[in-house]
């Protein structure tokens, strides 16, 4: 095995025993990025200098026997996390030169745990997209097949984990943006419960839905990284002050007696036969490990995408009002006054999909349409949420596909935004309900593209998701397959 093949858990042992040094590990990753990222385009910024400095400091810490949980572990961040002194673009032209004056809380927690930050990762502009083709800096290519998308919006995060250009990464998930690219790239992705991880210093898209989470090579690493970032933060007023459990404590407890609900509506027409077969096989594996299956119904599922696209775009239209060409970001001033400066800076800085969502959101919130669209969507959200929460009263977790199909070809859905939106149909309800869900590799298509399964849990039951996922992973070992680059 080479240095870039180890998980966080394996590296913790090797760094502490002195078998490897943080500097050689960091250099191995920087070399890997230099050799393969050109064909993937996962990185927007490589922070080589600060990464090496952090690795040197990590080696001193390790020599002193004072290692913290992530000391010397090379990680990378979706470019939506503001990082002090490291360019933060949100994959938009409007922020292409932005140097933030502070670090967000999740980033600070990684630093406080001793992590080495390799750089910032490509994404759909402002996290708006399901294929990572909406980046101002070009699409990310799927490490398993470069003619295919990675999924989005955390496409760079998923791709760098699959390409082994970072040990693990952080992403954000508003409608599936961690889980869907994790599934398409064959890695583990967790969307924690709304309020579990602070969003302070995360560039806002749709504030009632956005949540931060890890993308990792295996379930244990997912537990380790979730542990590092979860917890109350007074700087995020939506952060929930609930104790963070030890996510590793129950990891190996198995699924015997675990009651798993299968939402009928998630296995209907439109589900790719290979995805369906992989899910059925996963069900057999879990049943063999002692889990019990119950068919349940989520009758409001068909309204979730419409509900999401009204709520998310309305919130986006408000959140993105801050890009005005005055305080930061691109400014286009042709001397025609303040209003023209706003309008032209925004027109020049935002990409097509961002404009489309701002427009739809502005329309849904505008006089005469508010009740029919935005308020209606919020009421639909109540029903969708109650649906899922009630189902989770009957069972411990729900099992479903992550996406209806494996990754699609680059360009395939770009001309039809609605088709693109529908690829998030199984992930969006979780964001609307505010609960947690995990995406995990469960097989490959005949074409060699990864397929993912989703485990949905009760609010703040991340430990149960990790426990179930770990049992499945140990029984199947899909995570040991590597993309050849």
């Amino acid at each position: 095995m080479s240095l870039i093949d180890y998980s966080i858990a394996q590296l913790q042992t090797q760094l502490r025993s002195g078998t490897i040094s943080a500097v050689e590990l960091c250099d191995a990753y920087l070399a890997r990025i230099a050799s393969v990222d050109g064909g993937i385009n996962a990185y927007l910024t490589v922070a080589a200098e600060s990464a090496r400095a952090a690795a040197c400091a990590a080696d001193r810490e390790l020599a002193g026997g004072n290692a913290r949980p992530l000391t010397g572990i090379p990680l990378a961040l979706k470019d939506i996390f503001v990082t002090k002194g490291i360019r933060t673009t949100c994959a938009s032209k409007i922020l292409s030169d932005y140097l933030p004056p502070y670090d967000g809380t999740a980033v600070q927690r990684l630093y406080d745990s001793g992590a080495v930050l390799l750089g910032k990762l490509n994404m759909d502009e402002f996290a708006m997209g399901s294929s990572n083709e909406n980046s101002a800096f070009g699409p990310v290519r799927n490490p398993w097949h470069r003619d295919y998308v990675t999924g989005g919006s955390s496409g760079g995060s998923a791709a760098c984990v699959a390409a082994r250009t970072a040990v693990a990464a952080l992403g954000t998930d508003t409608g599936g943006s961690i889980r869907q690219p994790a599934a398409h790239c064959g890695v583990v992705g967790l969307k924690p419960t709304y309020g579990r991880v602070s969003r302070y210093g995360v560039i806002a898209y749709a504030s009632s839905l956005d949540q931060v989470g890890p993308l990792t090579r295996d379930v244990r690493d997912c537990a380790i990284l979730t542990q590092a970032i979860a917890g109350y933060d007074p700087l995020d007023s939506t952060s929930v002050n609930t104790p963070v459990p030890d996510y590793l404590a129950r990891l190996e407890s198995g699924v015997k007696g675990l009651r798993i609900g299968l939402p009928r509506e998630y296995f209907g027409a439109g589900l790719d036969p290979e995805v369906k077969a992989a899910l059925e096989e996963a069900q057999r594996v879990l049943a063999g490990l002692g889990a019990e299956f119950v068919e349940i119904s989520l009758p409001y599922t068909e309204y979730a995408v419409a509900c999401y696209y009204l709520i998310a775009t309305a919130e986006a239209s408000s959140n993105l009002a801050r890009y005005d060409g005055i305080r930061y970001g691109l400014r286009v001033d042709d001397g025609e006054g303040l209003n023209a400066l706003y309008c032209r800076s925004r027109a020049a800085g935002f990409g097509a999909e961002v404009k489309r969502r701002i427009m739809l959101g502005t329309y849904a919130l505008s006089a005469g349409y508010y009740d029919a669209y935005y308020l209606k969507a919020q009421k639909a959200r109540t029903l969708i949420r109650q649906d899922i929460i009630a189902a989770l009263d009957q069972v411990d977790v729900l099992l479903s596909p992550v996406a209806p199909t494996p990754a699609f070809r680059l360009g395939e859905k770009m001309a039809d935004p609605l088709q693109m939106y529908l690829s998030d149909i199984f992930t969006i309800p979780v964001n609307l309900a505010g609960t947690c869900a995990l995406s995990l590799p469960c097989g490959f298509s005949a074409g060699g593209l990864p397929i993912g399964l989703q485990i949905i849990g009760r609010p703040f039951a991340e430990a149960t998701l990790l426990q179930a996922a770990y049992a499945y992973e140990q029984a199947t070992k899909w995570h040991q397959r590597q993309a050849m680059l």
């Binding site: 140097l99 004056p101 709304y194 309020g195 009632s208 839905l209 007074p234 007023s237 939506t238 929930v240 409001y300 309204y303 419409a306 509900c307 696209y309 009204l310 239209s317 009002a321 060409g325 005055i326 305080r327 930061y328 970001g329 691109l330 400014r331 001033d333 001397g335 006054g337 303040l338 209003n339 023209a340 706003y342 309008c343 032209r344 925004r346 027109a347 935002f350 404009k355 489309r356 701002i358 427009m359 739809l360 502005t362 329309y363 505008s366 029919a372 669209y373 308020l375 209606k376 969507a377 919020q378 009421k379 639909a380 959200r381 109540t382 029903l383 949420r385 935004p417 609307l432 505010g434």
Partner: protein, 95 residues
């Protein structure tokens, strides 16, 4: 329903976006498609349903009203496209 070019222009004005004529045409078509799709919500009976603004029920979060350090002014101003004397420069708005 059909979104007219005038409606797109009105929304663009509210959203502070300059759109070219081809942009307006494309946007009208895209918004039409999206609005036709979200119209399915009209089939949903929401009589008496309380809207959800937030998935996790929570009241206002208050903090102690005490002084704490803010970001360094110079660090903040460094990101401004145009500044002068520690302030943001904007085009003249008052004659």
């Amino acid at each position: 329903m059909k979104i007219t070019a005038d409606e797109v222009k009105k929304v663009a004005k509210l959203a502070k976006l300059t759109l070219s004529d081809p942009d307006i045409e494309r946007m009208a078509a895209d918004m039409d498609a999206m609005l036709a799709y979200v119209a399915t919500l009209a089939n949903l009976d929401t009589q008496g349903i309380v809207p959800t603004a937030h998935a996790v029920p929570m009241a206002n979060a208050f903090r102690a009203d005490s002084l704490r350090p803010s970001l360094e002014r110079d660090d903040v101003m460094a990101a401004a496209p145009k500044s002068a004397g520690g302030t943001f420069r904007v085009p003249k708005v008052i004659e």
